[in-house]
Amino acid sequence: MSEPEPETQTESTDEQNESASLIDTHVTADSETGRPRVHGESVVEARNLDVHYGEEQALSDVHLDIYEREVTAIIGPSGCGKSTFLRCINRMNDLVESAKIDGQLRFRGTGMYSDEIDPVALRRQIGMVFQHPNPFPKSIYDNVAYGLRVQNETVTDDIVEEALRRAALWDEVKDQLHTSALDLSGGQQQRLCIARAVAVDPDVLLMDEPASALDPIATSKIENLIEDLSQEYTVVIVTHNMQQAARISDRTAVFLTGGELVEVDDTATIFENPDDQRVEDYITGKFG
C-alpha cells in the first residue's frame, strides 16, 4: 500500500489508550512535489485492518486515514473489499455472523470496536446511504424525522426543513411533505435518504454506490449534493464509476482483489499518474 508517508508521526505514548490517536496524519507529503499537504483532522483511522468472512479474507492489512470534510472515494473491482471497509466504519458487519475483524479502526481516536462504543450511538454519528434508495413506506416528513424519533429527540419542522434543504430536496417537496415518500422519483428518494441521514447531524456520511441506480440527471444532482455536503461533513463514497470518483472526490483509495488497499492519494494524482502499476492497469481498463 502506498499511503503517502506522514510528514509527522507522533506515536501514542500509551498503546493501550483507546482514546489516543494512533498517528498524527494531518499532514501528508504531496506525492508530486514532496511538499507537506495539510488535511483536516483524521476522522477515521484504519491500521492493520483485516476482515474475514469465515475462511475468506475480505480486507488485508488496510492502513487508511479518512480526513475531515474531504470526500474520499473508494474504488476497485467487485469483491475487492471496498463495501466491506465501508460497512466496518459503522459496524454494519456486526450483523454478519461469520465476519471477523482484526487490527484497529478508530473514530476520532476511539476504537470503534472497543466495548465502550455503543454501535447505535456510533451509527448516529456515521450515517449510511445505500445503492438503492430505501425510504420507509411513510411520508416524506416522517422519513426525515425517523432517526430523531427513534433516539427520542425532539422533531421540529425546522429540523426537517433544514435536512431537506441540505439534501437539495426542499424546493421540490415542500408542498407535499405529508405524501408518501414512495411516490418520489428514484433520484428524489435517494436525496430523501440523504436528508434522513443528515437529519441526525452525523459526523461522517458513508455512501455505497449512491448514484448507480439513477439516471444521469439524478446522478448529477447527487454529485453536486455530495460536493456541497463535504463543506460540513466527511464523506466516504464507494463507487464503480471511476469518472464519478474523479469528479467528486478529494482523495481516492484503490482496493484490489484480496482486500488489499493498493494506493491512496489525492484524486488528481491517482487518475493522472498513479504510483502502482496495478492501479494504472485497473483504472485504464487493462485489468479488472
Partner: protein
C-alpha cells in the same frame, strides 16, 4: 468500444502523428534546399502542400477530442492523448515554417548563404529525434535533445549578428545597393528566426514526451 479497439485507436493515433511528422520533416528539408536553389516549382509544392498538413492536424485533433469524450482516458492513456494533442500543434507549426523557408528561397532566387543550411539541418535533426523519442517513449532521449537547443540558439544568435554586421558594412554605392541588401538581410534574419523556432518546437515535443512518459513537467513550465 472494447478495450482492444480502444488500444487500437490509441496506436492509430500514434501512427497518424508519426506519418504527419514525417511529412512535415520532408517539407522542412525541402524548404532548406529551396533556400539554396530557389527552385520555384518545388517552392510551390511546399507552399500549396501545406493544406495537406493542416488537414492532418485537424483530423488528429478531432481524433483526440473523440478519444477524450468517448473513452475518458486516465493515467498513462490520458497523458498520451493530452501530449499528442499538444504535439500535433508543434508538427503543424513546423509545416508552416517550411512554407516560410520555401517563400524566402523563392523570393531570393536561392543562394541564401548564412550557414542556414547547417543550422537548419541541426534543427531538423532535433525535430526528427524528438519525434522518435515520442514514438519510443524515450525520456532520456527527450532530455538529451532538449539540451541541444541552447547550442542551436547560440548558433542562430551568431548568424543573426553576422547578418547585421554585414548589413552595417554595406556601402550605398556598391553594385547591389542598400535597398537590395536590406531585403536579403531581412530574409536571412527571418530564416534564422524560423529555423530557431523549429528547434523550439522540437523542445516542446520533448517536454510533452517527458510528461507523457514520466509525468515530468519541468520542461513545460
Amino acid at each position: 468500444m472494447t478495450r482492444e479497439s480502444y488500444e487500437a485507436e490509441l496506436e492509430l493515433l500514434r501512427e497518424d502523428i508519426t506519418d504527419m511528422a514525417e511529412l512535415a520533416l520532408d517539407r522542412y528539408e525541402t524548404g532548406l534546399e529551396i533556400l539554396e536553389t530557389g527552385d520555384e516549382q518545388r517552392a510551390r509544392q511546399v507552399i500549396e502542400g501545406d493544406h495537406e498538413l493542416n488537414q492532418q492536424y485537424l483530423d488528429i485533433e478531432s481524433d483526440c477530442i473523440e478519444l477524450l469524450a468517448l473513452q475518458q482516458p486516465v493515467a498513462s492513456d490520458l497523458r498520451f492523448v493530452a501530449s499528442s494533442f499538444k504535439i500535433v500543434t508543434d508538427i503543424e507549426r513546423v509545416g508552416d515554417l517550411a512554407t516560410n523557408l520555401a517563400r524566402y528561397g523563392r523570393e531570393a532566387g536561392g543562394g541564401l548563404d548564412i550557414h542556414a543550411t547547417q543550422i537548419g539541418e541541426t534543427a531538423g535533426e532535433m525535430f526528427e529525434a524528438a519525434m522518435v523519442a515520442y514514438v519510443d517513449d524515450d525520456a532520456e532521449a527527450a532530455r538529451a535533445i532538449a539540451a541541444r537547443d541552447d547550442t542551436l540558439d547560440e548558433r542562430c544568435r551568431e548568424t543573426t549578428e553576422a547578418v547585421i554586421r554585414d548589413l552595417m558594412t554595406t556601402r550605398a554605392w556598391e553594385p547591389d545597393g542598400v535597398g537590395q541588401r536590406l531585403q536579403s538581410a531581412s530574409r536571412e534574419l527571418l530564416t534564422v528566426r524560423d529555423i530557431e523556432r523549429v528547434g523550439d518546437h522540437a523542445v516542446n515535443i520533448c517536454a510533452r514526451t517527458l510528461y507523457m512518459v514520466e509525468y515530468d513537467d519541468d520542461l513545460i513550465y
